[in-house]
Symmetry: C2
Subunit: 610 residues, 2 copies
């Protein structure tokens, strides 16, 4: 294993005009050729150490090609940068260094400054392309978010997919606009002061168009994942599988100027190596940062409540920057009255929500009835900016049978309370596209497979999943184009009520979060929570220097009277029940003893006169 050079692409085609490097890992092949489709010529590659094949040749951007193994198997490039005809077609030469970046003055902020906005390229705009998203950047900027998080864009089968069925980790989805178009989008984001987070999938590859096994042992049957064989991170031949994904990490950060990667479901990455692959990725990212001077973050989705992922390397952790915080979502939703089916069964409402405000994990070494085992670790040594909090995300919405958003499941007042609960937390806030105007249309699970058996299998799989939640009825057909179309955001209604008010509400709340030091400063020691279970009221205090912020959250459907402790006067900063947000009534501007909370409402007071 040669060490990976962080500054240069080391696999697939590294375009350098007449000196382009062609590298393929195919340890069991007897011969490897590069077949140039247009010129109809096959160039032999030379065998190197560790099963690599290599040659240098004069090629052109836009050339279409296949690899030919053993003189007979014609296959697209596992490290293809472009699949213009989809996952089953030829690969195409791309020069990632061709794009003229003008984002030199961009500075990737610290994670503390991230306010995430998750979006799906296909469903975010009517056109469903990177270019169409560019048109919305001013809107997003004005909304107040600081980072867009793009659901996976690695080439997947067909034109419609959440992205988790990607099979060419290095190729940017052709129907979105491909690599150059993504670079252009990111450049625009940076110019406008928006960070870009990309969702990447290193735990499995999709079921259709996955040709990797024809080249090398990318998978192992030592471990099972929900999606079949696990990616081979620790079995024989793993070195170059690891290198493949490390090269992928480096490509996004180096060649696309991605600010942060969000690694999908890392709990299903099975790796008993002395150095876990995430730790190794982190080391390479650090090396890249040292070499270029540009900051980058790593974020994980992880269903383990195990801080080893985000603990510093010197304390035995993998050194990841932050992780999604499902326990906050689940306890928040149950507090809001969500039925306690499936994984929600483990959560009790505001007591658990209070614990999550304090400790991030609700399951921090206690028995989980849903998981049927003791679950989680303590977070005492972690800082709050390592956790990302949300009341909605693509999974929580889209994995419902009918893909209903909170907009159709909760009252208007409760929707305001939910995002309020997120914004006042000491965690990094996260929005899912469209929630800011309470868009009513669903976000459904959609695919565009060409294999009929697979289409049927996906349908059945979804059904089984819903059965776990005791849901009956028919789910929309994932493979139907209509299902995708129904999931596209409806921008037209932004300007009509009540959507217009909700949008304005979100802007105000985000603004408060960003500019009020006691909310913006993420110091867990400066935080106090208590609950009144009978009232279903949660009281959260946060402070910074001489400012104290008092947040009163009423999750009940009745008015509740709350006694306020402390000596001085409290001045109102924010009131979700205000008539200006179409609420029932405004709370007093100034209180010092008791306050009456409207049903499903949030009031924020400060000790400093506004």
């Amino acid at each position: 294993m040669n060490k990976t050079n962080v500054l240069e692409r080391g696999i697939g085609i590294n375009y350098k005009k007449e000196r382009s490097e062609i590298t393929l890992w195919a340890p069991h092949a007897k011969s490897v050729e590069l077949f140039m489709c247009d010129k109809n010529i096959a160039l032999p590659l030379q065998k190197q150490q560790f099963g690599y094949w290599h040659t240098i040749h004069n090629i052109n951007v836009g050339d279409n090609y296949y690899f030919i193994l053993d003189g007979e198997k014609q296959l697209p490039d596992p490290a293809s940068l472009s699949q213009p005809n989809g996952v089953h077609g030829f690969s195409q030469v791309v020069d990632l260094n061709d794009f003229r970046w003008t984002d030199r003055s961009w500075k990737n902020p610290a994670l503390q400054d991230y306010i995430f906005y998750e979006l799906h390229i296909g469903a975010f705009t009517p056109a469903g392309t990177f270019a169409a998203l560019e048109e919305k950047l001013d809107y997003l900027k004005e909304l107040g978010i600081t980072a867009i998080e793009i659901m996976p864009v690695a080439q997947f089968p067909g034109a419609r997919n959440w992205g988790y069925d990607g099979v060419f980790p290095f190729a940017v989805q052709n129907t979105y606009g491909g690599a150059g178009s993504l670079q252009h989008l990111i450049n625009e984001c940076h110019k406008k002061g928006l960070a870009v987070v990309l969702d990447v999938v290193y735990n499995h590859l999709g079921p259709e168009g996955n040709y990797l096994s024809s080249f090398a042992p990318y998978f192992t049957d030592k471990y099972h994942t929900p999606w079949g064989k696990a990616i081979n991170y620790d079995d024989a031949w793993c070195d170059n599988v690891r290198k493949y994904f490390i090269e992928n990490v480096l490509m996004w950060l180096r060649d696309f100027h991605i600010d942060a990667l969000r690694l999908d479901a890392v709990d299903t990455i099975k790796d008993f190596s002395p150095k876990h692959i995430l730790k190794e990725m982190k080391e390479y990212v650090d090396e890249l940062i040292a070499a270029t001077g540009h900051k980058h973050h790593l974020i994980v989705e992880c269903d383990l409540n195990d801080t080893r992922f985000i603990d510093p390397v010197k304390e035995g952790g993998y050194g990841i920057g932050a992780q999604w915080l499902d326990d906050f979502h689940h306890s928040l939703l149950v507090a809001a009255g969500h039925d306690r089916k499936g994984y929600y069964a483990d959560f009790n409402g505001i007591q658990d929500l209070a614990k999550s405000y304090r400790n991030a994990y609700v399951y921090d070494g206690v028995y989980s009835a849903y998981r049927q085992k003791t679950f989680g670790t303590k977070t005492d040594k972690n800082v709050t900016k390592q956790f990302i909090a949300f009341s909605q995300n693509h999974d929580q919405v889209g994995n419902r049978m009918l893909g209903e958003r909170t907009s159709t499941l909760q009252s208007f007042e409760m929707q305001k309370l939910l995002i309020g609960a997120v914004m006042i937390s000491a965690y990094l806030p996260f929005l899912f596209m469209g929630e800011e105007w309470s868009t009513p249309n669903p976000f459904l699970y959609f695919t565009d497979h060409s294999d009929r058996e697979l289409i049927e299998a996906v349908r059945k799989g979804r059904k089984a999943e819903f059965a776990a939640f005791h849901l009956k009825g028919e789910a929309p057909d994932p493979d139907a184009e209509e299902t995708f179309d129904n999931s596209k955001l409806n921008w037209d209604i932004q300007c009509i009520e009540p959507h217009k008010t909700m949008l304005s509400y979100y802007k105000t709340l985000i603004g408060l979060r960003k500019h009020r030091p006691a909310l913006y400063s993420l110091i867990k020691e400066n935080l106090y929570v208590k609950v009144n279970e009978k009232q279903n009221v949660l009281i959260l205090k946060r402070w910074y220097n001489d400012e104290e912020i008092l947040c009163l959250l009423n999750f009940s459907k009745e008015k509740q009277s709350v006694a306020i402790s402390g000596s001085g006067e409290w001045y109102k900063l924010f009131d979700s029940a205000s008539v200006k947000w179409r609420g029932p009534a405004d709370a007093p501007e100034k209180v010092n003893k008791d306050v009456t909370l409207q049903p499903e409402s949030l009031i924020i007071y400060t000790n400093k006169h506004v």
Copy 2:
């Protein structure tokens, strides 16, 4: 999950006369009864939390019983302490507290003082029982070893088995003499000043008589091991599987006064929990030590070259005391001329042996062609007494097709050199029964299954294994009684030559190791190795205070002349080629410049006049 009480047995039958506690974990059962075979009565157990069933009853030692699940399934106790009729029969009540221990003055030594002697109860003596082994303790004491390491004794199918097919981890093999007889043996060992190490298997259960799955999800198909489904250490229901094995650890240490456990092949224990099961076992052992004041050690066999197992807990490790050091064995054997097939292919002889003397692992983060991946970690932070070195063990001998020992594979001179190489290392020395008199009979793989299909499968499996080493021909039938009989030690030949000389040689060498501070003190900084590859000569220097020890190892079949550096005179301490050990010639008693080494010989010099 209730916390395990380290001082008292918490599962199966905890015998307390009329207040005996009966506890069974059977989370899916609708009813559980204890069926007393002799009285022909069924006592109902009451359901408790987490799938446990419990009752208190008046029972007698020696009572035979089954558990009955759901009124129909009659099964032996998963935590049975005795299976008088074998793995398919009833369980029997045992009172582990009945034995009168007289080993109060015994003090378990530090690992540094361990000189291991591995033995198989069935094959060590003609009778093949614990009682018969007691007759040999004086012999072992006189040999100079300080600890016997007993191959697994958990009840296995039939009367003949290495022990790794055990299916009742808490029951002591009936044909060896059962629990009381093992307690008696350990008491005798302690009275004679011998420590007792027990080999335990926590990575799988045997294929015959394994009734655990009838009770609860003890296994998971999330991971594959060489022996099928993995033990469920991290999946749903794992809490009580973990408890089961933790109770087992505690039983051996607390109720049998075992000094150290040797955990079999922990690399096949798959556990992604925040706290690895080995780390949790170590915590419980520490708690037991704190409660009783008796020291205990944990040792692992681990094929990962990963120090996380033996690193201290505060540095992110599992805190295990020591591990077997295969790389030393493999490089030593290749240095001795062993053919480089199978895993030996990775080793180059004395250069690798020198590295192993220095760093323990030869594969410490370098590419292994045999494993087809980068393998191992650095050992810079570990101490040498964490590694156990051997030139033979049950696996290295018994996993050969014909079970040949070094005694029939190497010359007499080379055998002396091999054990010499072990004894002069800074690691803990380890012997395999019979090597000390160069016993010529093999140690074969033997079983005694009752299932014909299984017998055939085992035969086939062995064949496939040998195929990996490119071995041809017929392996002895594992299930034939003759195979077992041929593996029993031949004690009669101890007193005839050349066995008598070998035995005397071992005693002298062990004595030297124990009493010469520069050899006994295991300080890796006080060690220097160099090799002359052309001569196939390795020079090892070790020192302590003002004593220096110079070891000259000639692995070649020719005489070699070696120049000795340093100013002063060197006095001979030991000479494997001496005519008193049936060698070709004695080296000079005193040297200061050059010395001629006999073929396949070891000379030890000291700078201090003897």
